[in-house]
Symmetry: C2
Subunit: 192 residues, 2 copies
């Protein structure tokens, strides 16, 4: 046996599968289970052995995305230094998960029926808190609400991932581009 997951013997690298699935679904949100399986380089049967169905796969991706975001936020030490620098760190840390994020954001569009994962709310709160800290310290302007800045962060990270996939922006530049645009827009300026 090679790996034990949830008390079940498993060999394929679950994380690897999830990542490849995320990449495929980012590229084409309506991918078939068959397409996802092929992108993950496993058979459809194996894919079903790991995830009970499409819903379970999406939920696992959601879980992964939330985990990556929380890890990024931990690594970024949002409470330290200036809000500006913390935001810069957050964007740099969150960038590897940008593709997954972009997919999840579009997938989450209006969670009709069941409630959305509480994890998203937790993330929103922490990010909004960062912006609010910047507003209270005078770094950020107060006429752009923290809620909007939070949304804008998600949007720009998603756009960035998409721009990189499309080859419109170099991967090495995207983190800087996002940070500069967001910080420049959020920053309180002394000149008119």
């Amino acid at each position: 046996m090679s790996q034990v997951v949830y008390g079940c013997l498993m060999s394929v690298d679950r994380d690897q599968v999830l990542r490849r699935a995320a990449a495929q679904l980012t590229r084409k949100g309506s991918s078939t289970m068959d397409e996802v399986a092929r992108a993950a380089r496993i058979s459809r049967a194996t894919l079903h052995r790991h995830f009970a169905g499409r819903d379970a796969l999406i939920r696992a991706l959601e879980e992964l995305g939330i985990q990556e975001c929380e890890a990024a936020m931990g690594a970024a030490r949002l409470g330290e230094d200036s809000a500006q620098d913390a935001l810069r760190r957050l964007i740099r840390e969150i960038e590897p998960a940008a593709g997954l994020l972009a997919f999840l954001v579009t997938e989450n569009q209006l969670f009709e029926g069941d409630a959305q994962h509480e994890g998203w709310a937790r993330l929103d709160v922490r990010i909004a808190e960062l912006f609010r800290r910047g507003q209270e310290s005078g770094e950020f302007r107060i006429d752009l609400s923290a809620a909007w800045l939070t949304e804008a962060l998600y949007g720009l990270v998603g756009s960035g991932a998409w721009a990189v996939l499309d080859g419109r922006v170099a991967a090495k530049d995207i983190s800087y581009m996002i940070a500069e645009l967001l910080i420049g827009g959020a920053q309180r300026r002394v000149e008119s």
Copy 2:
């Protein structure tokens, strides 16, 4: 008879149908034709009478979105005044189409197979031109490429539409929020 479209007698308001369809698809990108029809308040049969199939519907929505964008760009008079003011006008004009845009952007994700509609390229060029004009006049910073600022505009407009749908930002504020964030981020600052 009430309306003549493409030499065929039609009564339902095609534009209205497209708008409702766009709203539904923005809310849930994987809506079935039945859900779209119900959202458009017509029967599935009638929906099929107007659009040969799902692809035709999407393509019609794409056409509508491009038209609205071009109309918005015309109304915004991108070449006049400062680039900043032109951008502000563009955002204000494009805002009514934001929901449709948000859907089309996600739908367009990597056009595997056939080439994307040339209209998008035309729009991109015009928007990028505006940003470039701002850069050349010294209004906008040059370390954020015009291509990225264009992507960011799409992303922020989409995020804005989504934030409004979700009730996180008031509809009356969103145009200002987008413009201020984008212009503030793009603006060249004299202070450090």
